[in-house]
């Protein structure tokens, strides 16, 4: 249920960025979430719809780009990606593997309609 607090952070960030660019209405938020970040997409959209009412993000759509976990085998050097469970090296079968990425959780970009007249 930490998605509620996480979603509030997301909304605050988007509103702040939107204001910087004089957005009248933010229509789309593009998020990147790594396989190893413990975040549930569905609940974020649900909370976002509720929290964003009355803000410049009202009715904005959230787009989630899930990125896989990246691993590297320490024995044979094979680099590989995983969408599901963490497993041993698919090349040599070795268990001496290291996670090298997949923790991403950031706002990549926002799409918005701009105010009619933008101050110089």
């Amino acid at each position: 249920m930490h998605e509620l607090a996480v979603t509030q952070s997301l909304l605050d960030l988007a509103v702040r960025k939107g204001s910087e660019y004089h957005a009248r209405r933010i229509t789309d938020l593009n998020l990147v979430i790594g396989r190893l970040a413990s975040i549930v997409d569905d609940s974020i959209q649900f909370y976002f719809d509720n929290l964003s009412a009355g803000t410049i993000c009202e009715q904005a759509r959230l787009h989630f780009r899930r990125v896989p976990a990246r691993l590297k085998c320490q024995d044979c050097g094979q680099a590989y990606e995983l969408e599901a469970d963490l497993t041993d090296c698919p090349h040599c079968g070795g268990a001496n593997v290291r996670v090298t990425g997949g923790d991403e959780f950031y706002l990549e970009s926002i799409e918005f309609d701009q105010e009619e007249s933008v101050p110089a």
Binding site: M1, H2, A5, V6, S9, L10, D12, L13, K17, Y21, A23, T27, L31, L36, A37, S38, I39, A69, L71, D85, L86, A95, N96, V97, R98, V99, G102, D103, F105, Y106, L107, E108, S109, I110, E111, F112, D113, Q114
Partner: protein, 220 residues
């Protein structure tokens, strides 16, 4: 329609507050750990064992994160002679930097060497919120099972040490230590691991040495 690139961590506001907590702790010369675990793994038992072994030569304070205003844990710590502050999260499943910022002024920070922040018992939500402490320590316990690193990778990624509790139950539970260790190594190579029993004290010296070393070394 305009698109602009943002590329900013969604937790950046919390992270900035965590940095302020860190600065406050550093200014007072306090080393702080964020103690994480699932419910019942032995957080309070480890805190009490640690206080009884290291106090008063180390001056230890405790912040107790609880989801309700039940002061059982804080009372035990106070009874052990250490200042304790309770944070009632009001049902929230984790502590965050704002909650810790509210607790710090209630502690005699300049009179402390070590602050132990007992987070809410939870392996998912707590991983997302930096508090500003200097080290994240997880207590796992063997009855929980040896597959936890594989199931809760996010929390293991951010750790500085794992205490593996309830080793006295080894004869009674199926726990493959090698499998557990392999998962830990996969996610966090070289992570310090301390098998202990808070019940009979087995393994405690290695954990206490590590902790004292980190407190002495300061805020690495």
């Amino acid at each position: 329609m305009t698109t602009v690139t943002v590329v900013e961590r969604i937790m950046s506001a919390n992270d900035r507050l965590a940095e302020q907590n860190r600065a406050r702790l550093d200014a007072a010369g306090v080393f702080a750990i964020n103690l994480l675990a699932s419910p019942g793994a032995g957080k309070t038992s480890l805190i009490l064992r640690t206080i009884s072994a290291l106090a008063p030569s180390l001056r230890i304070g405790v912040v107790e994160g609880d989801t309700a205003s039940v002061t059982i844990d804080a009372d035990k710590v106070s009874a052990a002679g250490s200042p304790a502050v309770q944070i009632n999260t009001g049902g929230e499943c984790h502590l965050d930097a704002v909650m810790l910022a509210g607790a710090l002024p209630q502690l005699p920070l300049p009179a402390l060497d070590l602050l132990i922040v007992e987070n809410v018992g939870n392996l998912v939500c707590t991983a997302a919120f930096q508090l500003g402490t200097h080290a994240n320590v997880l207590i796992a316990s063997i009855p929980e099972g040896d597959d936890k690193p594989y199931k809760y990778p996010a929390i293991y990624r951010g750790l500085d040490a794992v205490v593996l509790n309830k080793m006295d139950l080894k004869p009674y539970v199926d726990f493959d230590l090698a499998y557990f260790q392999r998962g830990v190594e996969m996610l966090n190579p070289g992570l310090a691991l301390f098998p202990v029993s808070c019940r009979n004290g087995e393994g405690m010296p290695a954990w206490l040495d590590w902790l004292q070393g980190r407190v002495k070394r300061g805020h690495a």
